[in-house]
Amino acid sequence: MVSARGLRKSYGDFEAVKGIDVEVGKGEAFGFLGPNGAGKSSTMRMIAAVSPLTSGSLQILGMDPALQGSQIRARLGICPQEDTLDNELSVFENLAVYGRYFGMSRRESASRTHELLDFVQLSDRAKAKVETLSGGMKRRLTVARSLVNSPDLLLLDEPTTGLDPQARHQLWDRLFRLKQQGVTLVLTTHYMDEAEQLCDRLVVMDKGVIVAGGSPAELIVEHSTREVTELRFGVGEHEAMAAKVGDLAERVEVLPDRLLLYTDDGEAAAVAVHDRGLRPISSLVRRATLEDVFLHLTGRSLVD
């Protein structure tokens, strides 16, 4: 569905994407995970056949976006980072009018709109103006709009950024259903839980390059231990404490507010810390996540 080789994007002197290779197969849910400014959105705009590439090669649905942009876009669903809904139009009008851009008849577009409003649970708001909707509703409407043309490939740029937990779960549920229907999904996110929930395969991006790739489970096995023990000490003590417990784990990360001990037996590490007479304010043993993978690969957190 998507095949990129040495893909680059520059804006003047600034190089947002510095040569990435990506392959996405049919029916796959593929993610770009990375912090803000990693080059995810620039990559997505190129895959959306909206933004021309600076260099490298890119094929979308077997076509070249420079030559067949319009034909490619006819088969894509695009959910941009910022909702580009028309605030002055109603919920229904926003979708019905959009279907017409794809050459659908008025009747076809209207019936598809009813179907999709049902799918994203907004049927009761069909006549409301978009500006009266909550953030989560607008996001669901944008997702619905990207489905108007029954796309072969759905692109979602930060689908749940800015939503409250309930709205996020609602949207994830809808995306999960699409995935089960066989729609190919490509999404960007800076939430590791979102990547874990939705993606079969993902790449970790940082500063315009891909630093690792694989399934969420593979990435954790490869770049982290199974468990993590989090220790919280008093402010400013973490650096000194790291030296005292360094030998108890395979690796220790010092964060401003806590220490992370990477080990395959987190409980044992916590006990060993206690046995040395150290008394953290709190301690917690958990499974490793993609957040740990990212921290290990880049030395920074995903969400600053």
Partner: protein, 258 residues
């Protein structure tokens, strides 16, 4: 540009939301202008200078077509400022169009068609008011003048759409209105023959599309057509539309292709 007709429903839907709010003022403005300038100032001029001063016509007959052309210009420019900026900045409708099979030239063509319709409607209303003042010589001339008004409006709208697509902030519009629209309105030849001005300024006025629009519209409504001059006006206005079109499409292509 061949997919532009797919935008019809969008612009019709938008128009349905706003037209009721504008209908009263769209009649009021021409009425006030024609009452004050055409009748008020007009009777003063006609009484004191006599019809000979304007080549045998009343001041109302002189100013009517001039104001028709400037109405076309004003509508064309206004519709190409905030509504175009809004598509990029406030409502993002251009970006949602660009995510579909539509190309930048489709998007520009769609919006310009709508702007053309707005010019047509505004000038149609103006002609109706002018008829109410009994200042229309012939229906035939009025209809041709209406068609020409759309050309006059678009000659200003296309370059303005291009300019707006290159502007990051709406703050620049104040400059456009004061330094561009206002002088063009006053020195277009709508209110007085521009040969009254110092010759340097007269030549400057010849370069503006609005002077060509005013002179052409006046010829048509008064029936005193000089074919060569009329064709020159028509060609100049058409050239503005074509140049403005390319300027607008390239501006949209750049802005939408981030």
């Amino acid at each position: 540009m061949q997919l532009a007709s797919r935008l019809t429903d969008y612009w019709v839907t938008r128009f349905k939301r706003v037209w009721k709010g504008t209908i009263f003022t769209s009649f009021l403005t021409p009425f006030l202008y024609l009452a004050a300038m055409g009748v008020g100032l007009g009777s003063f001029i006609d009484d004191n200078a006599g019809p000979a001063a304007l080549g045998g016509i009343t001041y109302l007959a002189f100013i009517g077509p001039g104001l028709l052309a400037t109405t076309a210009m004003q509508t064309g420019i206004f519709e190409s400022t905030y509504p175009v900026m809004g598509g990029f900045k406030w409502h993002g409708y251009y970006f949602s169009m660009a995510a579909s099979p539509l190309t930048p030239s489709d998007i520009v063509a769609g919006h310009l068609t709508f702007i053309g319709f707005r010019i047509f409607a505004a000038c149609g209303v103006f002609l109706a008011v002018l008829a109410g003042f009994g200042a229309l010589e012939s229906w035939w001339g009025a209809l041709v003048a209406l068609a020409v008004s759309v050309l006059v409006g678009l000659a200003h709208a296309t370059p303005m759409v291009g300019l707006t697509s290159r502007m990051q902030s709406e703050a620049g519009f104040a400059l456009v209105f004061r330094l561009g629209l206002m002088p063009m309105f006053l020195f277009s030849g709508a209110f007085f023959p521009i040969t009254q001005l110092p010759s340097a300024i007269t030549w400057l006025a010849y370069l503006t599309p609005i002077w060509h629009g005013v002179d052409l519209t006046r010829m048509l409504t008064l029936g005193s057509i000089d074919t060569a001059t009329a064709l020159l006006h028509f060609g100049y206005l058409l050239a503005c539309v074509v140049a403005g079109w390319f300027y607008a499409v390239s501006g949209f292509a750049k802005r939408l292709a981030l």
